[in-house]
Symmetry: none
Subunit: 408 residues, 2 copies
């Protein structure tokens, strides 16, 4: 089935917001076996939206819109779609009671302009918003399908996963099975080179690689007359990828590295604590994203300055002076100090130069990770080839997580 | 002048690449006083590209394309544009000699498929690529303008800045001035209610509100015969918005809250340290995004468990037992303990329930922030109306930053 994605929002057309919604929906729809032909983006403008609906339905049977469903005056998507389908807006009771419940749960009073949100085209099925207040809807008429989702990515994604995908699956004839294999430690082009024959020669399953902030994924996706047939087709190729890239793979189920690490720590009751310099608390912050992590994670020290390293962790002043803060010696003393304080099963410390500027002694991107586990202490050195502070800090945390994952 | 942006690339329509080009061009074009009406995105498909050219020129006098100018087989943008304008592709000598010089400079041999890149429509002016090999071009015919740029963002941006902007400036009559006002502490619909008359009654400047993860922005944008005239038109409305929303505004220059806080701390040499429970290091991590923050930020403690709060910060066990970890009393003892250790000008501590599950004693979203500054210590309580862990943690950090900002 051919699909067009319509993104509505003046902030998009003004260039204030990057249109990640269209990218996300394209990815998901392709995986489900739909053909996305176009993305159309326009401001909150009734005439243009109407025009694009006409144009898009000339080639596509399905349109997915994002944005313009909110409670404010410029949110017009619903009205225009309603006119296009010769329908009328009516109070949707199901949607209203869901929104009331949402406000009750939040212990907030619903304002009148929120009522506007639960008014939907009479032929529409409401789609519940589990992450906000604007409901979406699904409307089918005269062989055309329109699915309207809210603009904020968090709300849109949740609604798409919970409310749209189950309904889309009934439209697809073939069963689709896919796995996303997550890797760390190898760049995209080098990773692709290892499996280029699989990427080129496969039509079912298809194999594709994706780069994402220092990580790389391989997606294997097959269609079949049954789910079992589709899975079987994937399985053979996944085994081959495992043979070639095994050491870099940390998940076959599209889990984040922090989820994998957090899950293993909790399952095995292995306690962990951290001492961070250049990452500024990002390691602890990521780990504490995991619900239930308090079972194994009890504290972390962000020791940014020399004083902090000395006073909190007991790093010797002379070590700092002799080797600089970004050195194997300091990483070692940091992790030793950390272990003396916390006694955690795994202690991990990091010191490095995040950039964009050098610290005067060391190049940007140089990092040392100190680790203690089961009576052993070691330091890993690595050098990133990037001067971007954000990228380097993120990559450093991934590297810390990867190090912990390999211990487990 | 009305403009459409056409992004060509199968990777965009497959959702493998986020379309940042359209965002960048929109931003730039709006600043220059052009009206961007649509973004169109499609794969490397001749039929669809031809169709969208027809559609786009119905409303727009100018089209900017990105992508499809490269040397490989699927790069078809140029051919289709040539057909559309009834033109023919000819070897462009200027472009060829530039490309030859580029290869020479790089000390590389030019391969044959690179020749294809210097073939341009006969009526086109070549646009030099200072960051890659595919030249762009500018073509004007029968009142229509088309500007074709390469797909890779780095090449596209450089070409746009160096080669396109100087040519565009001669086309613009109006000057555009805009300001983005950032606020915290008021939801979008409630904020809009306060300035709804300005949103409705203004055409120059225009006023619009945008929500973004717990924050809200107001954009004021005016055209004028000179930059001064446009600025003056904005100024009057900005003053009125300041009157009404002043207490919620933290930036008139589209700065992030953390940038504002970081800048003020650094400028005034006010030292800060933090003790975090539910936010797990996110406050420290955000603050250390700011380059140069080491001047005022020296450490942070992530005290997740009762033990950590007791051992690191000296929170009394009986306080934890009597009032629970999420209490005004514990927040107070955390910040006192923190001050005893660091003596920072500002000490800030947070304890709360991030969710999604309650801690047994307290509702999800309940937070206490303890602050000490200039000899005063106080605790702020707030209750978030969300059960999403990520959202709550992010909002809690914004609340901490907002609290610090109000002290400064």
């Amino acid at each position: 089935m051919k699909v067009a994605i319509l993104s509505v929002g003046t902030e998009l057309i003004f260039g204030q917001t990057v249109n990640t919604n269209a990218t996300y929906l394209s990815q998901q729809l392709n995986l489900l076996g739909f053909d996305v032909l176009y993305h159309y983006t326009m401001g909150d403008n009734p005439g243009r939206l109407k025009r694009i609906l006409d144009i898009a339905y000339e080639d596509c049977q399905m349109i997915i819109t994002t944005g313009g469903l909110g409670p404010t005056e410029d949110d017009l998507t619903k009205e225009i779609i309603c006119q296009y389908f010769d329908d009328e807006l009516v109070q949707n009771e199901e949607s209203l009671s869901l929104l009331k419940a949402y406000y009750q749960q939040m212990n907030r009073t619903m304002t009148d302009n929120n009522l506007k949100q639960t008014v939907l085209p009479s032929k529409a099925i409401p789609l519940q918003n589990h992450a906000g207040t604007a409901p979406g809807f699904w409307l089918e008429d005269k062989g055309k399908i329109i699915i309207s989702l809210p603009g904020p990515p968090r709300e849109m994604k949740k609604m798409f996963l919970d409310e749209v995908i189950p309904r889309l699956k009934s439209l697809v004839k073939d069963f689709l099975y896919y796995k996303t294999i997550r890797t760390f430690g190898k760049g995209e082009s080098s990773l692709e080179t290892e499996i280029i024959d699989l990427v080129h020669n496969q039509t079912n399953p298809t194999v594709a690689t994706y780069a994402k902030e220092g990580e790389c994924s391989v997606r294997v996706c097959a269609k079949g007359s049954s789910m079992e047939a589709a899975e079987l087709a994937c399985r053979r190729v996944i085994d081959e990828i495992k043979n070639r890239l095994g050491e870099y793979i940390y998940s076959y189920d599209d889990e984040d590295l922090v989820q994998v690490v957090g899950r293993k720590l909790i399952e095995r009751s292995i306690s962990i604590s951290s001492a961070e310099s250049c990452t500024g608390g990002m390691f602890a912050e990521r780990l504490t994203e995991i619900s239930g992590i308090s079972k194994v994670f009890d504290r972390s020290f962000v020791t940014y300055s020399w004083d902090a390293k000395e006073q909190v962790l007991g790093v010797k002043r002379e070590t700092l002076e002799k080797y600089s803060a970004v050195s194997s010696q300091v990483a070692l003393e940091m992790v030793k100090g950390l272990y003396n304080i916390t006694g955690s099963d795994i202690c991990i410390a990091i010191t490095g130069v995040a950039g964009p500027l050098s610290d005067g002694d060391n190049p940007v991107g140089l990092m040392y990770i100190g680790v203690s586990y089961k009576g052993e202490i070691f330091v890993e050195k690595f050098q990133m080839r990037n001067i971007d502070r954000k990228w380097n800090r993120n990559y450093a945390v991934l590297k810390m997580l990867d190090t912990v994952n390999k211990l487990l």
